[in-house]
């Protein structure tokens, strides 16, 4: 699956299901297996971060990392750094105590009409 397949709903679904942060990874710009689809992911991620802010949440809970298969060490350190950052933000508690904001009932929404 290409990062271009990333539907923003997936990210909100993960947050609503109890994730405290979501990392999205893809091939480096210019090195997309599908030519240029990672650029589309980039656009969507910026949108998502704005939406997250709209919910009153820290946009830092979403991070985008470009990494190639040859960059194992860098990828690992990015993951470790992201975990630390999210830990500093604290737990989100969505999805746990039934505390899901009404706006994020993504599975239900996507079935009929996904916002662009």
């Amino acid at each position: 699956m290409c990062s271009g397949r990333l539907d923003p709903t997936f990210v909100f679904k993960a947050l609503a299901s109890g994730a405290d942060g979501v990392m999205i990874t893809g091939c480096h710009p210019g090195e997309c297996h599908y030519i240029e689809q990672n650029y589309k992911a980039l656009r969507r991620i910026q949108l998502m971060r704005r939406t997250l802010q709209g919910f009153g949440l820290e946009p830092g809970r979403i991070r985008l990392v470009w990494a190639s298969a040859a960059e194992g060490n860098r990828f690992a350190s990015e993951v470790a750094a992201f975990v630390e950052e999210v830990r500093a933000l604290g737990p989100l508690h969505w999805g746990k105590n039934g505390n899901v904001p009404s706006i994020a009932a993504p599975a239900a929404i996507q079935k009929e009409e996904v916002p662009a």
């Binding site: 699956m1 290409c2 271009g4 397949r5 990333l6 539907d7 923003p8 709903t9 997936f10 679904k13 993960a14 299901s17 109890g18 994730a19 091939c27 210019g30 090195e31 297996h33 599908y34 030519i35 240029e36 689809q37 589309k40 969507r44 190639s68 298969a69 040859a70 960059e71 690992a76 999805g95 009932a105 993504p106 599975a107 239900a108 996507q110 079935k111 009929e112 009409e113 996904v114 916002p115 662009a116």
Partner: protein, 680 residues
């Protein structure tokens, strides 16, 4: 709440019978993940999600492991399979085949990577085990939404495109052409032959390089099944395995190939001498109209436009005047050709490391420092000095020569990899210098890497000849003497690591065994052909051990140094292997495409056309009459961008449907796990 929604979409309403198979992979997984506990947990806590059996086994990919799965499918009536093992890159095919053997649609089998994504990247056993459970839970939730898929078959065009006319490309071309299929061989230079045509002798047998290469070149030139396109470059590649459409630019030679007889009079009469930076490695001259070397195939010259006096000043035309068949065409234009092929082999070769970058070795500043490619030309009887090994002054024979290994290789400041050929090449130089000049020869090495047949024997031979070996990476080559005996010499300063002392060794000539680098434009080439390359720029093979000639893109194969540094026998072997793979594909006549494709549910499509501009493969067409969008399944590569973009949810992606991914996320978050039973 959301659960019901998902369950009702495409899962079989509780009819799933799922088998979970957890692999130890020896200790690869079991060393970090408590495999037994994971299997027991899956059987117990995912039972209500349809898991009817969960097993662990030492090597699931072994035939016994596969039989285990097949047996369960038959006996327990499993209709879904989860294999928690290595990356699907390695064994997805294995397990899908096993399922198919047992009568289960292979796309109802899903792999969960608990080796690459769990055991290899974690050390905390408890946490790793928990993560493995979560991932299996995700896999189980996902596989519930899998549907049987049938691969689409497309016919294979039997013609093949080979890019690069070095020894690897030549070998591939001959193998395929001899088997009776058509080959287009595209080469960027005016002649095929590649680097091998520049060499003098080949290690370890000391065969004359040209003597063994030129018959093959002639075969290529005269083969009825080979269309040879030299002085040409691929500009665009469209399509997919079986039917690629390739656009090739045939650069204007300014010579009519139909009329030219290859007599060579134009080269003789051309008054303009140019340093030949390609074939003579900058050590010799050619004319502005030239064939790179006498045995060039094809034997038509090209006019070097930037250096030709006619194009500069509008006068001269010496070549045209003397050309009897009137083959010189000054206003000839580039031609754009469109080729239809079923498979492609990339054999684009390597560039030599630019030794000027290591300023401490003085190449380009100190005249008597030479690169390995320059030396090949110096040794070559057809080279600029007729095979005489002399200093840059063109006449003095060196009395002492230092050969430096690993120039630009195994060095994090330049290239961190070993260039493979330089040790043997340096040993060959040592032998040839001895033979031609009788000079004292020093070899400066870090390690001698003389693996493969008869290579170490050659090392022994060079030792026997009295070559002086110094183990140590040379620190600098200097022309600044400290004592009388160093005056007028090049001084090689090095730690002799076997003595543990710094030495300064004065010599007359220094040879730098420069490493191999990917072609400067290799990343661009990879993009054109839609394959990937490593951070260094070498093309990435499908599997480093088990599939070293295929790429991740179906129908595109790689051979020779484009994949990584290698010597002539290895290039030939890989060229032949790539050809064999292509011939195998051609013989299949049709190829099954992965059924991971996007498709439009027409009733849902509102005709908004948001998806239309997104597809990089031009697989999306809009039907004005019906105001709906359609996706061509043969062109679609399954990236999924349009699926994510469709505001109406009208596009579905098989293998990566919204249902599947949403369910997998819930599974990963362990939302559907049976709660811990109250003690009873």
């Amino acid at each position: 709440m959301t659960e019901n929604m998902i369950e009702n979409t495409s899962s079989n309403d509780g009819q799933e019978k799922i088998g979970v198979y957890v692999c130890h992979c020896g200790t690869n997984i079991a060393g970090v993940v408590d495999v037994v506990q994971v299997a027991e947990w899956a059987a117990k806590y995912l039972k209500h999600r349809g898991v009817v059996i969960a097993r662990e086994y030492k090597f699931m990919c072994s035939s016994l492991g596969q039989e285990l799965i097949e047996k369960d499918i038959k006996e327990l009536g499993l209709n879904r399979v989860i294999v928690a093992a290595c990356s699907p890159h390695l064994h997805e095919k294995t397990f899908r085949t096993a399922c198919a053997n047992a009568g289960l649609n292979p796309f109802l089998c899903e792999m969960v990577s608990i080796r690459e994504q769990v055991s290899w990247v974690h050390t905390d056993k408890a946490a790793a085990t928990a993560k493995a459970k979560a991932m299996i839970s995700g896999g189980v939730e996902r596989v519930r939404h899998h549907v049987p898929l049938e691969p689409m078959t497309v016919p294979i065009n039997p013609a093949t495109l080979i890019v690069g006319g070095g020894i690897a490309g030549i070998q591939s071309a001959l193998e395929i052409a001899d088997a009776g299929f058509h080959v287009y061989l595209v080469e960027r230079e005016p002649s095929i032959g590649g680097h091998m045509a520049q060499f003098d002798k080949t290690f370890p047998t000391l065969d004359c390089s040209a003597c063994i290469l030129t018959p093959k070149m002639v075969d290529v030139g005269s083969h009825p099944n080979i269309t040879l396109l030299t002085w040409s470059e691929v500009e665009k590649v469209e399509g997919y395995v079986g039917s690629f459409t390739v656009t090739v630019r045939k650069k204007a030679r300014k010579v009519d190939e139909e009329l030219c007889t290859g007599c060579g009079i134009c080269q003789e009469k051309c008054p303009k001498k140019v340093i030949d930076n390609v074939f003579e490695a900058g050590l010799g001259y050619r004319k502005a109209v030239y064939t790179p070397f006498p045995q060039a195939v094809p034997n038509f010259p090209v006019i070097d436009v930037p250096n030709c006096t006619y194009y500069e000043k509008g006068t001269c035309k010496a070549c045209e005047i003397f050309c009897a068949p009137k083959a010189i065409v000054f206003d000839q234009q580039d031609q754009i050709l469109t080729l239809k092929v079923g498979n492609i082999i990339l054999a684009t070769g390597y560039d030599l490391f630019d030794a000027r970058r290591m300023t401490n070795y003085g190449y380009g500043r100190l005249p008597n420092v030479f690169t390995s490619l320059e030396m090949e030309r110096l040794f070559n009887a057809a080279g600029p000095t007729n095979g005489n090994v002399v200093l840059r002054d063109g006449k003095t024979t060196p009395q002492s020569v230092g050969i430096i290994h690993c120039v630009g290789s195994r060095d994090k400041n330049f290239n961190n990899y070993c260039s493979v050929i330089c040790c043997m090449q340096s040993l060959k130089f040592a032998h040839l210098v001895h033979e031609r000049t009788g000079a004292t020869v020093y070899n400066f090495y870090i390690d001698i890497r003389a693996a493969f047949k008869d290579y170490d024997e050659f090392y022994q031979r060079v030792l026997e000849e009295g070559t002086l070996f110094v183990r140590g990476k040379v620190a600098e080559v200097s022309d600044v003497p400290r004592v009388e005996s160093e005056k007028g010499k090049l001084i090689i300063q090095v730690e002799d690591t076997l003595i543990g002392k710094q030495r300064r060794i004065p010599v007359d000539m220094v040879i730098l065994s420069a490493g191999l680098e990917p072609r400067k434009d290799s990343k661009e080439t990879a993009r054109t052909f839609g394959i990937s390359c490593s951070a260094n720029g070498w093309f990435t093979e499908k599997h480093p051990k088990l599939d070293p000639v295929a790429t991740m893109t179906e129908g595109i194969y790689i051979a020779g140094c484009a994949q990584g540094p290698k010597d002539i026998p290895a290039s030939v072997a890989q060229g032949a292997a790539a050809a064999a793979r292509v011939l195998g594909k051609i013989e299949q006549k049709a190829v099954a495409l992965e059924p991971i494709r996007a498709s439009v549910v027409e009733e849902r499509c509102s005709g908004c056309r948001i998806c239309n501009g997104l597809c990089p493969f031009n697989a999306i067409t809009f039907h004005e009459d019906r105001m709906v969008t359609e996706i061509n399944p043969a062109l679609c590569q399954g990236c999924g961008t349009c699926v994510a973009a469709c505001p109406a949810g009208a596009i579905t992606g098989t293998g990566f449907s919204n249902d599947q991914i949403m369910a997998q996320i819930e599974g990963l978050m362990m939302l559907n796990v049976e709660p811990e039973p109250v003690a009873a």
